[in-house]
Subunit: 179 residues, 2 copies
Protein backbone atom coordinates (compact mmCIF):
# COMPACT_ATOMS: atom_id res chain seq x y z
CA UNK A 1 0.00 0.00 0.00
CA UNK A 2 1.53 3.32 -1.07
CA UNK A 3 2.02 6.48 0.94
CA UNK A 4 -0.29 9.14 -0.46
CA UNK A 5 0.75 12.77 -0.31
CA UNK A 6 -2.48 14.74 -0.37
CA UNK A 7 -1.73 17.89 -2.30
CA UNK A 8 -2.76 19.72 -5.43
CA UNK A 9 0.68 21.29 -5.69
CA UNK A 10 2.91 19.55 -8.20
CA UNK A 11 6.09 21.27 -7.00
CA UNK A 12 5.51 20.19 -3.42
CA UNK A 13 4.91 16.67 -4.62
CA UNK A 14 8.11 16.62 -6.68
CA UNK A 15 10.08 17.86 -3.66
CA UNK A 16 8.62 15.03 -1.57
CA UNK A 17 9.16 12.43 -4.28
CA UNK A 18 12.87 13.31 -4.41
CA UNK A 19 13.18 12.28 -0.77
CA UNK A 20 10.46 9.64 -0.34
CA UNK A 21 10.71 7.55 -3.47
CA UNK A 22 7.54 5.50 -2.96
CA UNK A 23 5.18 8.42 -2.43
CA UNK A 24 2.18 8.98 -4.70
CA UNK A 25 0.26 12.17 -5.26
CA UNK A 26 -3.41 12.25 -4.25
CA UNK A 27 -5.03 15.39 -5.52
CA UNK A 28 -8.25 15.62 -3.54
CA UNK A 29 -9.70 18.74 -2.02
CA UNK A 30 -10.09 18.40 1.73
CA UNK A 31 -11.84 21.03 3.83
CA UNK A 32 -9.47 23.41 5.60
CA UNK A 33 -10.58 24.12 9.15
CA UNK A 34 -10.09 27.48 10.82
CA UNK A 35 -7.36 27.15 13.39
CA UNK A 36 -4.22 28.99 14.49
CA UNK A 37 -2.50 25.66 15.01
CA UNK A 38 -1.57 24.04 11.71
CA UNK A 39 -1.43 20.64 13.42
CA UNK A 40 -5.16 20.78 14.10
CA UNK A 41 -5.84 21.63 10.47
CA UNK A 42 -3.63 18.78 9.29
CA UNK A 43 -5.15 16.32 11.73
CA UNK A 44 -8.66 17.14 10.52
CA UNK A 45 -7.56 16.58 6.92
CA UNK A 46 -5.96 13.24 7.69
CA UNK A 47 -9.07 12.11 9.58
CA UNK A 48 -11.17 13.05 6.57
CA UNK A 49 -8.87 11.19 4.19
CA UNK A 50 -8.92 8.06 6.35
CA UNK A 51 -12.71 8.07 6.18
CA UNK A 52 -12.65 7.79 2.40
CA UNK A 53 -9.71 5.61 1.58
CA UNK A 54 -7.40 3.04 3.15
CA UNK A 55 -3.70 3.66 3.17
CA UNK A 56 -0.96 5.81 4.58
CA UNK A 57 -1.30 9.54 4.11
CA UNK A 58 0.70 12.67 4.48
CA UNK A 59 -0.48 16.28 4.50
CA UNK A 60 1.73 19.34 4.79
CA UNK A 61 1.29 22.92 5.83
CA UNK A 62 3.91 25.57 5.08
CA UNK A 63 3.17 28.91 6.65
CA UNK A 64 4.74 32.23 7.49
CA UNK A 65 4.72 33.28 11.14
CA UNK A 66 5.47 36.94 11.82
CA UNK A 67 6.84 38.03 15.19
CA UNK A 68 5.17 41.45 14.99
CA UNK A 69 1.79 39.74 14.76
CA UNK A 70 2.50 37.18 17.47
CA UNK A 71 2.61 34.36 14.93
CA UNK A 72 -0.02 35.51 12.46
CA UNK A 73 -0.65 34.95 9.61
CA UNK A 74 0.43 31.32 10.23
CA UNK A 75 -2.03 28.96 8.53
CA UNK A 76 -4.05 32.00 7.39
CA UNK A 77 -1.25 33.19 5.11
CA UNK A 78 -3.31 32.37 2.01
CA UNK A 79 -6.01 34.83 3.07
CA UNK A 80 -3.57 37.56 4.05
CA UNK A 81 -2.03 37.28 0.60
CA UNK A 82 -5.47 37.50 -0.99
CA UNK A 83 -6.46 40.57 0.97
CA UNK A 84 -3.31 42.66 1.52
CA UNK A 85 -0.70 40.85 -0.58
CA UNK A 86 3.05 40.76 -0.13
CA UNK A 87 3.23 44.56 -0.11
CA UNK A 88 0.71 44.72 2.70
CA UNK A 89 2.58 42.12 4.74
CA UNK A 90 5.91 43.87 4.24
CA UNK A 91 4.26 47.18 5.19
CA UNK A 92 2.92 45.66 8.40
CA UNK A 93 6.35 44.45 9.48
CA UNK A 94 7.81 47.86 8.73
CA UNK A 95 5.10 49.90 10.44
CA UNK A 96 5.12 47.63 13.47
CA UNK A 97 8.90 47.91 13.69
CA UNK A 98 9.68 44.21 13.79
CA UNK A 99 10.53 42.24 10.66
CA UNK A 100 11.48 38.94 12.28
CA UNK A 101 9.61 35.90 11.03
CA UNK A 102 9.65 32.15 10.75
CA UNK A 103 8.89 29.94 7.77
CA UNK A 104 7.65 26.60 9.00
CA UNK A 105 6.58 23.35 7.40
CA UNK A 106 4.62 20.82 9.37
CA UNK A 107 3.99 17.39 7.88
CA UNK A 108 1.33 15.16 9.32
CA UNK A 109 1.61 11.46 8.62
CA UNK A 110 -1.14 8.90 9.23
CA UNK A 111 0.09 5.33 9.47
CA UNK A 112 -1.68 2.07 8.69
CA UNK A 113 -3.28 1.96 12.12
CA UNK A 114 -4.53 5.52 11.91
CA UNK A 115 -1.73 6.69 14.21
CA UNK A 116 -0.72 10.29 13.48
CA UNK A 117 2.77 11.76 13.69
CA UNK A 118 4.09 15.26 13.00
CA UNK A 119 7.42 16.36 11.56
CA UNK A 120 8.58 19.95 11.46
CA UNK A 121 11.15 22.03 9.72
CA UNK A 122 11.55 25.75 10.24
CA UNK A 123 13.83 28.56 9.25
CA UNK A 124 14.14 32.02 10.78
CA UNK A 125 14.39 35.10 8.63
CA UNK A 126 13.07 38.56 8.06
CA UNK A 127 10.30 40.20 6.12
CA UNK A 128 11.55 42.51 3.40
CA UNK A 129 9.99 44.58 0.62
CA UNK A 130 9.11 42.17 -2.24
CA UNK A 131 12.15 41.09 -4.29
CA UNK A 132 12.33 38.59 -7.12
CA UNK A 133 9.78 36.65 -9.12
CA UNK A 134 6.40 36.00 -7.56
CA UNK A 135 6.18 32.33 -8.33
CA UNK A 136 5.22 31.07 -4.95
CA UNK A 137 3.16 33.02 -2.47
CA UNK A 138 5.28 34.92 0.03
CA UNK A 139 8.68 33.88 -1.33
CA UNK A 140 9.49 37.47 -2.44
CA UNK A 141 9.19 38.91 1.10
CA UNK A 142 11.01 36.21 3.10
CA UNK A 143 14.77 36.52 3.45
CA UNK A 144 16.29 33.63 5.43
CA UNK A 145 18.83 34.59 8.09
CA UNK A 146 22.35 34.41 6.72
CA UNK A 147 21.31 35.32 3.18
CA UNK A 148 21.01 38.64 1.41
CA UNK A 149 18.23 37.66 -0.94
CA UNK A 150 14.64 36.52 -0.75
CA UNK A 151 13.45 32.96 -1.34
CA UNK A 152 12.11 34.22 -4.67
CA UNK A 153 15.57 35.33 -5.74
CA UNK A 154 17.17 31.97 -5.03
CA UNK A 155 17.47 29.21 -7.57
CA UNK A 156 15.33 26.16 -6.89
CA UNK A 157 18.40 24.16 -5.93
CA UNK A 158 19.74 26.80 -3.57
CA UNK A 159 16.36 27.18 -1.90
CA UNK A 160 15.77 23.44 -1.55
CA UNK A 161 19.09 23.08 0.26
CA UNK A 162 17.87 25.16 3.17
CA UNK A 163 14.18 24.47 2.74
CA UNK A 164 12.08 23.98 5.86
CA UNK A 165 10.07 21.50 3.82
CA UNK A 166 13.16 19.43 3.16
CA UNK A 167 13.96 19.25 6.88
CA UNK A 168 10.45 18.04 7.65
CA UNK A 169 10.57 15.52 4.79
CA UNK A 170 13.91 14.14 5.99
CA UNK A 171 12.47 13.64 9.45
CA UNK A 172 9.51 11.75 8.04
CA UNK A 173 11.88 9.63 5.95
CA UNK A 174 13.95 8.74 9.03
CA UNK A 175 10.78 7.77 10.83
CA UNK A 176 9.56 5.56 7.98
CA UNK A 177 12.80 3.62 7.53
CA UNK A 178 13.19 2.91 11.24
CA UNK A 179 13.08 -0.84 11.80
Amino acid sequence: MPLYFITGNKNKFEEAKAILSGVEQLDIDLPEMQDLDAKNIIEAKLAEALKHKKGEFMVEDTSLYMDCLNGLPGPFIKWFLKSIGNNGLAGLAERLGNNKAEAKTIIGYAGKDGDIHFFEGSIRGKIIAPQGETNFGWDPIFQPDGFDKSFAEMGKEEKNKISMRKVALEKLKDFLIKP
Copy 2:
Protein backbone atom coordinates in the same frame (compact mmCIF):
# COMPACT_ATOMS: atom_id res chain seq x y z
CA MET B 1 -41.34 22.61 12.07
CA PRO B 2 -39.39 25.23 13.98
CA LEU B 3 -36.65 27.52 12.76
CA TYR B 4 -33.40 26.47 14.41
CA PHE B 5 -30.76 29.09 15.16
CA ILE B 6 -27.48 27.20 15.25
CA THR B 7 -25.38 28.90 17.88
CA GLY B 8 -23.69 28.21 21.18
CA ASN B 9 -24.08 31.86 22.17
CA LYS B 10 -27.01 32.46 24.50
CA ASN B 11 -26.93 36.24 24.07
CA LYS B 12 -27.11 35.99 20.31
CA PHE B 13 -30.00 33.58 20.65
CA GLU B 14 -31.89 35.90 23.02
CA GLU B 15 -31.41 38.78 20.60
CA ALA B 16 -32.85 36.65 17.79
CA LYS B 17 -35.70 35.35 19.93
CA ALA B 18 -36.80 38.92 20.70
CA ILE B 19 -37.37 39.48 16.99
CA LEU B 20 -38.23 36.01 15.68
CA SER B 21 -40.58 34.60 18.29
CA GLY B 22 -40.71 31.03 16.99
CA VAL B 23 -36.96 30.46 16.82
CA GLU B 24 -35.30 27.66 18.77
CA GLN B 25 -31.67 27.35 19.77
CA LEU B 26 -29.67 24.45 18.38
CA ASP B 27 -26.32 24.25 20.08
CA ILE B 28 -24.27 22.01 17.82
CA ASP B 29 -20.70 22.52 16.82
CA LEU B 30 -20.29 22.79 13.06
CA PRO B 31 -16.91 22.93 11.38
CA GLU B 32 -15.80 26.44 10.44
CA MET B 33 -14.20 26.57 7.01
CA GLN B 34 -11.35 28.88 6.16
CA ASP B 35 -12.65 31.63 3.93
CA LEU B 36 -12.48 35.39 3.63
CA ASP B 37 -16.13 35.44 2.62
CA ALA B 38 -18.40 34.81 5.60
CA LYS B 39 -21.17 33.72 3.23
CA ASN B 40 -19.14 30.70 2.16
CA ILE B 41 -18.52 29.74 5.78
CA ILE B 42 -22.22 30.09 6.59
CA GLU B 43 -23.26 28.15 3.51
CA ALA B 44 -21.00 25.24 4.44
CA LYS B 45 -22.46 25.19 7.95
CA LEU B 46 -26.03 25.18 6.67
CA ALA B 47 -25.24 22.37 4.23
CA GLU B 48 -23.77 20.37 7.10
CA ALA B 49 -26.81 21.00 9.30
CA LEU B 50 -29.20 19.96 6.54
CA LYS B 51 -27.35 16.65 6.24
CA HIS B 52 -28.10 15.79 9.87
CA LYS B 53 -31.52 17.15 10.55
CA LYS B 54 -34.67 18.26 8.76
CA GLY B 55 -35.95 21.76 9.31
CA GLU B 56 -35.29 25.41 8.73
CA PHE B 57 -31.98 26.73 9.94
CA MET B 58 -30.20 29.99 10.48
CA VAL B 59 -26.52 30.65 11.08
CA GLU B 60 -24.95 34.03 11.71
CA ASP B 61 -21.52 35.53 11.42
CA THR B 62 -20.62 38.85 13.03
CA SER B 63 -17.18 40.09 12.11
CA LEU B 64 -14.99 43.16 12.17
CA TYR B 65 -13.63 44.39 8.85
CA MET B 66 -10.76 46.88 9.05
CA ASP B 67 -10.09 49.26 6.16
CA CYS B 68 -6.34 49.37 6.87
CA LEU B 69 -6.17 45.59 6.33
CA ASN B 70 -8.40 45.60 3.25
CA GLY B 71 -11.19 43.86 5.15
CA LEU B 72 -9.21 41.62 7.45
CA PRO B 73 -9.71 40.23 10.01
CA GLY B 74 -13.30 39.60 8.82
CA PRO B 75 -14.33 36.02 9.67
CA PHE B 76 -10.85 35.47 11.15
CA ILE B 77 -11.50 37.96 13.97
CA LYS B 78 -11.56 35.16 16.56
CA TRP B 79 -7.98 34.20 15.71
CA PHE B 80 -6.72 37.77 15.60
CA LEU B 81 -8.14 38.27 19.09
CA LYS B 82 -6.46 35.07 20.27
CA SER B 83 -3.08 36.05 18.88
CA ILE B 84 -2.77 39.84 19.15
CA GLY B 85 -5.88 40.81 21.13
CA ASN B 86 -7.74 44.10 21.14
CA ASN B 87 -4.57 46.03 21.94
CA GLY B 88 -2.84 44.51 18.94
CA LEU B 89 -5.75 45.32 16.63
CA ALA B 90 -5.94 48.91 17.89
CA GLY B 91 -2.17 49.22 17.47
CA LEU B 92 -2.42 48.02 13.86
CA ALA B 93 -5.03 50.64 12.98
CA GLU B 94 -2.91 53.34 14.60
CA ARG B 95 0.39 52.30 13.03
CA LEU B 96 -1.19 51.87 9.63
CA GLY B 97 -2.77 55.30 9.91
CA ASN B 98 -6.35 54.28 9.14
CA ASN B 99 -8.84 53.46 11.87
CA LYS B 100 -11.96 53.06 9.73
CA ALA B 101 -13.79 49.79 10.10
CA GLU B 102 -17.08 48.02 9.60
CA ALA B 103 -18.98 45.75 11.92
CA LYS B 104 -21.08 43.37 9.88
CA THR B 105 -23.55 40.62 10.62
CA ILE B 106 -24.52 38.15 7.94
CA ILE B 107 -27.33 35.72 8.58
CA GLY B 108 -27.76 32.69 6.38
CA TYR B 109 -31.17 31.07 6.31
CA ALA B 110 -31.94 27.65 4.85
CA GLY B 111 -35.59 27.12 4.02
CA LYS B 112 -37.63 23.92 3.86
CA ASP B 113 -36.50 23.19 0.32
CA GLY B 114 -32.84 23.72 1.12
CA ASP B 115 -32.90 27.15 -0.52
CA ILE B 116 -30.42 29.53 1.09
CA HIS B 117 -30.85 33.27 1.61
CA PHE B 118 -28.59 35.88 3.16
CA PHE B 119 -29.46 38.96 5.19
CA GLU B 120 -26.94 41.60 6.20
CA GLY B 121 -26.64 44.42 8.64
CA SER B 122 -23.58 46.60 8.96
CA ILE B 123 -22.41 49.67 10.79
CA ARG B 124 -19.39 51.85 10.07
CA GLY B 125 -17.15 53.04 12.83
CA LYS B 126 -13.58 53.40 13.93
CA ILE B 127 -11.04 51.37 15.83
CA ILE B 128 -10.02 52.96 19.10
CA ALA B 129 -7.80 52.00 22.04
CA PRO B 130 -9.79 49.52 24.20
CA GLN B 131 -12.48 51.22 26.32
CA GLY B 132 -15.06 49.63 28.59
CA GLU B 133 -15.72 46.12 29.80
CA THR B 134 -14.42 43.23 27.76
CA ASN B 135 -17.56 41.18 27.72
CA PHE B 136 -17.76 40.49 24.07
CA GLY B 137 -14.74 40.12 21.80
CA TRP B 138 -13.85 43.33 20.05
CA ASP B 139 -16.61 45.51 21.55
CA PRO B 140 -14.04 47.64 23.47
CA ILE B 141 -12.24 48.77 20.30
CA PHE B 142 -15.19 49.50 18.01
CA GLN B 143 -16.74 52.96 18.19
CA PRO B 144 -19.72 53.33 15.86
CA ASP B 145 -19.83 56.51 13.78
CA GLY B 146 -21.89 59.20 15.50
CA PHE B 147 -21.04 57.98 18.99
CA ASP B 148 -18.24 58.90 21.37
CA LYS B 149 -18.00 55.56 23.12
CA SER B 150 -17.18 51.97 22.24
CA PHE B 151 -19.73 49.17 21.94
CA ALA B 152 -18.42 47.92 25.26
CA GLU B 153 -19.29 51.21 26.96
CA MET B 154 -22.89 51.15 25.75
CA GLY B 155 -25.72 49.60 27.67
CA LYS B 156 -27.21 46.49 26.11
CA GLU B 157 -30.33 48.42 25.13
CA GLU B 158 -28.42 51.28 23.56
CA LYS B 159 -26.23 48.89 21.62
CA ASN B 160 -29.11 46.73 20.43
CA LYS B 161 -30.84 49.80 19.01
CA ILE B 162 -28.06 50.31 16.45
CA SER B 163 -26.92 46.70 16.28
CA MET B 164 -25.91 45.31 12.91
CA ARG B 165 -27.30 42.01 14.12
CA LYS B 166 -30.70 43.57 14.69
CA VAL B 167 -30.80 44.97 11.16
CA ALA B 168 -29.99 41.54 9.71
CA LEU B 169 -32.59 39.88 11.97
CA GLU B 170 -35.28 42.37 10.93
CA LYS B 171 -34.53 41.63 7.27
CA LEU B 172 -34.89 37.91 7.90
CA LYS B 173 -38.14 38.53 9.76
CA ASP B 174 -39.54 40.54 6.84
CA PHE B 175 -38.59 37.73 4.49
CA LEU B 176 -40.25 35.08 6.65
CA ILE B 177 -43.58 36.88 7.06
CA LYS B 178 -43.92 37.65 3.36
CA PRO B 179 -46.99 35.91 2.03
